[in-house]
Symmetry: D2
Subunit: 350 residues, 4 copies
């Protein structure tokens, strides 16, 4: 392992909101150099520098055949579609916030990278958040000349903004209230909308002659909360239904869960989200959801990094050695200012 | 006007659940022969037999250019996208349950039909429900070999079943409780699932080796109700989220409204639908919604009728002269057995 | 091996027009029951009944990831994209006109079938010609309501006709001069056009109000010849460019080769085909070419067979035991009347 | 008329290689301000600043409905699909290298622009070459991360390069031999390949690890000629077939004609192009052809100009008053160095 990132979704088990097994290792944003290969591996070689998609997939089931590595039918012993590292519900696979990582079906799962250490902090975004942000723009139908609104300027929202600009969107709005994150959105060429200062709906409608944007990306998830901190899972969805124009598309890459026993309301406990579906229907919106199938995008995004056109590492706020992971989780979980994205790995200095 | 159909959505204003203006004529499923053309018309000629799409569209705005005639930006004086006949909220255009109908932008809106009277009852389905059912299968991603579940065996659901079979689906389930409608589903080559007799989820999961179907079509809408008659707008959506497999598609052509002052709950009044969104997200479903842009499909569906491959008129239960419309509405509104689809027009006999 | 078919492209090496190695076994249309699996196989089990796609693919290279198993970058030691069985230029893999067949990367390549012997003659078409015919319709953009012209009523052309009807085409023309093959086209619901009796261009243009068809499928290939037997590689292409309407699509699944040393003209030797490209450009045609990536279609086509909606075995003319293969090749190579499709396998009787 | 550009295809009739009627006005790249509207016009207003797509289309025929304004079935009295300005074979419509231009079906054809004079030289590219270059990238399947080779650095090739970069291509090669044009390609972010200095095939294959590019754009046309000036219509196509990788896409926006009585060879006179079709088939290439349907792209490209992300005017070499058109044609026809793109209009100074 040369780099393993901490992801916002690591905080779900960290906070006890998702289950975790004692002794399991966290970490699904992984990259490194191959130390050893099993007997069934004939493509990947020892010494290859590789990125590890967070979805662990068999490569031969029906869903993998169709490109949905996010819903592999064989990798998760639970029988649920989809497997991954560092989450009991995604299978028994330990994560990569460690010195080594075992990658099943390595020929299928691993993406080869140029040897060396160049672009390390950019490439490490290929395992999850860069493709996930891109997936949001894909589900939303972003295309050259279109306008886009992204709710949430966390790492995924920022990667969605970067992706939307790379894909030729004519204007990209990013809505959040954290100044440091909004500054990164601006660096990626987006228009920052600070909802602690302005009404985002009004701002976006005004800037689009009252029509709204062509595409919306939800990068917040079920823990969306208002300014008092109260959770309203429908909050970002409602606003997006409001600002996306009739005939538009909505990509939901913020995480929603089928049940959430610790949620505030009975509906939320059951994974129900009472958003403005009637308004969405009237507009004829198309809503794409779910985890990103990383392999669908990581090769092309890698090539954009190599050619100097994509720079996902701008969001890195901290690089730390593995033995400082405990403190890093603590800061990150408290959403402390400036802790946008933490990378762990040997040779990193605090 | 040679034929005008009564549509389930005519019942919304009929029941006072949607607004209606005194003196406005009902009817958005229209066909006839051209009596007269305005000076700006250079394609359509007097004497042409034509089908009138229920969406009234200008043909030159941005949404029309993009094929979204269901969201025309110019035809509705209210400024809302989308216009139509026989509904105050869709603009000031009178409907076609009458002797004559005025069709603006006739060159753009009208679909020409072969002269004569052949296929009259099939062609009359081209103005709304055949394309609308087809649209449901399009939004759901139906393709050759795929499996499909359709909830609701009303006219739109039956047209969705007919469309799914025409498109090469390998198995099509239609879920309803009305025996006569389920019999029609069977005639169209679908597998009828009577939810008053069996658990539809269990039936469909069993028939698909526990995987569920590839595609789901919602043809029920916000007035979905349980067997006691109580409305639960999320009822059909929830069941579809349950039976559509991970990575699948869901087309929602049943009508949902942005507000419904007479609904039973506060959420429903606001057009909110608290369905299992968390489960849908976990499965990575893609959900398409909204009114059908009829012009996207009516020409090809017409050609399938002419070539003898499509037979939408099987669902016609009654053909009546215009002066029996009042009684027809009464029977239809009471959902009397066998009143599946009513056609009105000169020369029709009770 | 339970069934191995003889394919028209087996005749290229048989006639010495493509190279063949002494001792290599012919046969790329294969199905059977698994006798033994290697140590790297964890999905397929001994005893599984399976269909073997003619493209042999690694499942983990870039092209396989993108669904182009027809252009696998790793399976062919020559370095050329694409590998297969029973052809020296497609790699060192022996064919299946034998008792046993070795299938590399079996988990990826094999399609599982229901146990038993039902649908044997239908399923055997899943290895090549049914998907290949379907691929022609996909490249041509066939969709519900469209009109289609297919040139060539050999097995692939007939499978294209069957596919086009399954996909909801409103009218399908099949052009050939062999009465028995045209009769099969009619059985599949197509309109037979016998070019020894009528001018096909005129016939098709007349039947489409002078507009031509939406889609064309070329199922003839570089050995297209006129009624005198003289080869004109551009013959079928030219006619298709003529009958496909402006804005239409053309799928070329007939085989063309980059060089053909025994061809009649210098251009043909170099793989050049001087067809009416200027006319195609003026019409704005889209032309798809190449070998079918079988895995893109075989699962859905299998399901259509199981559900009783697809019947590719109608074209089978002969079923023979393996020891009569020599005579079978002789008859087939002479294009004897009625030798449409030959199946070889144990238990087959002459 | 505020701006009318001279286009390379104006040279076909200028040189007598395409027919021209005495008295007809040249010019199909037009923009201006509306002076007067006819009685059937209800969207466009006097005073609107507008861009005029070079395809003149009715907006209500089947092809226009499907988005193929390049193949309008009603606008050209000859009965051929497609109409335009300033070409007898495209209908009797005079061109815009004049003070005024008549635009039929103005509501459908005209694209509205922001009032004023800002971006005049960028917007004037919206009538033809910017969308045409973009169309080449669309036909070729350009998408984020892909590699692209464009043959021909004339105005259309340069616009294709600009488009490919805007769409997120990871590397774009432009092949030509004119230093000034290659310099513009570099300005747009492409890699210039000067075929008078290097072998373009070798250069591109080397730069892509021997795989070739994902996408190719042909922006040369039937007058492709070698360094001695001899015409070889298949020249650019052959090279593109060579450098586009197996499974790739090829967009041909260079003009090919169905007949060319003055061509050098019998085949060329008939519009036949004997390119390496066998090699293309073996690679499984997809080849899109034909004139650009401008309305499919001009709105989004306009928005990219307004937002400062697209700069098509970089290629403008000369701005002249209308009365210097004769000299301009003379220079342009001689392919004099530096005469890349000429704009004509009132207030322009030599």
């Amino acid at each position: 392992m040369t780099t393993a990132n901490i992801c916002g979704s690591d905080l779900h088990p960290y906070e006890g909101r998702a289950s975790m097994d004692p002794g399991m290792v966290f970490g699904h944003e992984n990259m490194g150099v191959v130390e050893e290969v099993g007997p069934g591996v004939d493509r990947i070689k020892v010494g290859d520098r590789v990125s590890v998609p967070f979805n662990l997939a068999c490569g031969t089931c029906r869903n993998c055949n169709d490109g949905f590595t996010s819903a592999c039918l064989r990798a998760n012993p639970s029988g649920q579609p989809g497997a991954g590292y560092g989450y009991p519900m995604m299978g028994p696979y330990w994560g990569g916030q460690a010195e080594f990582l075992r990658v099943p079906w390595a020929d299928f799962n691993l993406l080869e990278l140029p040897a060396g250490t160049e672009h390390e902090n950019d490439f490490t975004m290929l395992s999850d958040i860069f493709p996930t942000g891109y997936h949001g723009t894909e589900l939303a139908g972003v295309a050259p000349g279109k306008t886009v609104a992204i709710y949430g300027a966390g790492p995924v929202g920022l990667m969605a903004a970067h992706s939307a600009v790379l894909r030729g969107a004519s204007q990209v709005f990013v809505v959040d209230k954290e100044a440091d994150r909004l500054a990164l959105a601006t660096e990626y060429g987006a228009t920052a909308v600070d909802f602690s200062q302005v009404d985002p709906t009004e701002t976006i409608m005004d800037a689009t002659d009252g029509f709204g944007v062509d595409c919306g990306v939800e990068a917040v998830g079920y823990q969306a909360h208002d300014q008092t901190g109260e959770e309203h899972p429908e909050l970002a969805l409602d606003q997006l239904v409001g600002v996306v124009r009739a005939t538009g598309g909505l990509g939901v890459v913020g995480v929603y869960v089928p049940e959430d026993p610790q949620a505030a309301t009975e509906q939320a406990k059951q994974g129900r989200v009472a958003f403005d579906f009637g308004a969405a229907w009237t507009k004829g919106l198309r809503i794409g959801t779910g985890q990103c199938p990383v392999k669908a995008y990581n090769r092309h995004l890698r090539d954009l990094i190599i050619r100097g056109e994509a720079h996902p590492s701008k969001i890195v706020s901290h690089e730390l050695p593995l033995d400082q992971a405990v403190e890093a989780y603590d800061h990150f979980d408290k959403r402390e200012d400036g802790w946008t994205k933490v990378l762990l790995g040997p040779g990193r200095s605090a």
